[in-house]
Amino acid sequence: MIIAVASGKGGTGKTTVAVNLARMLGSHVQLLDCDVEEPNDHLFLKGSMREEEIVTTPIPQVDESLCDACGECSRFCQYHAIVSLKTKPLVFPEMCHGCGGCAKVCPKKAIREVPHRIGMVETAQANNITLVQGHLDVGAAMAPPLIRAVKARLQPACRDASFPGAGRNGVPAILDAPAGTSCPVITTIKGADAVVLVTEPTPFGLHDLKLAVNMVRELWIPFGVVVNRVGIGDDRVHAFCRQEGIPILLEIPDDRRIAEAYSRGELIVDALPEYRAYFERLGEALLERTSTDLHDASGVATPNASTFQR
């Protein structure tokens, strides 16, 4: 089962929920840090990097001896990654989405695609958690191709209940998404079986939760909410969830000791054992129950619902 942890607003506690949930989710858990511009799950997990792989995207390379500066490539590219003004084309690798269109439309076959490094995928083992994290290079602008490379490491066992030690939904995999609702977030949560939206009970938290709810509904993925730092702000997040029929899967109190443990790079479930039950409950809510406990967009069964009803 693939669980994505996302949020509209940044700093609500996605990483906290993702790493602590991963710790409590059984003997084998894959944790994929898809926040590739600032991966930080590793700060909370004591394990050394086992493996590093360079990730590239294809960019055009122009053979100027074949190019007659017709400008077809430039007219085709909507991202201005290849520009020709009656001149030999200029290539801007950081603008390129790697579609290969320029090479296809070139009448002189002067363009071929070559790999361009955008970042790394790193793997580490820490206790029960296999961490896979993407690390976008400074200066690289496009996160989605790297996020896809991270997700390509999802083990088949995450959908395989027959795997030794797997629950009836397979070995759990957790995707820690970036904040917001833009392309990197969509790339992360697409294909997940459930989404946990982490928010805080403040007007800002509520505003961005609504955006995130709309996004998840658009993608037809069952979801529930975790409210972090309960005790601050107001009760409007709770009222909104009640009104929309969205289950609140977990409430984490506003406890200074949690912030202190976080600042030391410690897992809450290790530093403050009384919270173990909280994350166990969240894990149960996600793994053991059926889809009816998670909210689906319109009351109609979603394509992913069968995962919960197996």
């Binding site: 991202y79 201005h80 520009v83 003004l85 009656k86 950081e94």
Partner: protein, 120 residues
């Protein structure tokens, strides 16, 4: 020769926009005919990325041989150079003042971008 100026208005007495890629308009002045036309750059104002490159293409296609603006970043500068458009940076207040400075020969053609890109 034609010169492109970055601006938000339709006339010479309007302020020179110090931005290049996200300037709302380009005023393209024909030195020989003493006339000008105004080209819209609105679609670039809200572009997530690549505004400089697109703006440079627009200026190059206008037939301008020179660009007078506040600042010009590295990608736009590369496109303009390739297209043979010279770049002149100025802090002149209005398009008219920038035009006077250009005519008086007090502006110096830039040899590189004068500001960083928005990433890298």
């Amino acid at each position: 020769m034609k010169i492109a100026f970055t601006t938000s208005g339709e006339t010479l007495d309007v302020a020179l926009d110090s931005r290049f890629g996200r300037a709302p308009k380009f005023l393209v002045y024909d030195l020989d005919a003493d006339t000008f036309e105004v080209i819209d750059n609105e679609e670039n104002l809200n572009a997530a990325q690549g505004a400089g490159i697109q703006a440079a293409e627009t200026v190059a296609r206008s037939g301008a041989g020179a660009l007078v603006t506040g600042h010009c970043g590295p990608k736009a500068f590369r496109v303009l150079s390739a297209a043979g458009v010279k770049v002149y940076n100025t802090d002149a207040i209005t398009v008219a003042a920038a035009l006077d400075a250009f005519r008086a020969g007090t502006l110096k053609s830039a040899e590189s971008a004068d500001v960083e890109g928005h990433w890298v």
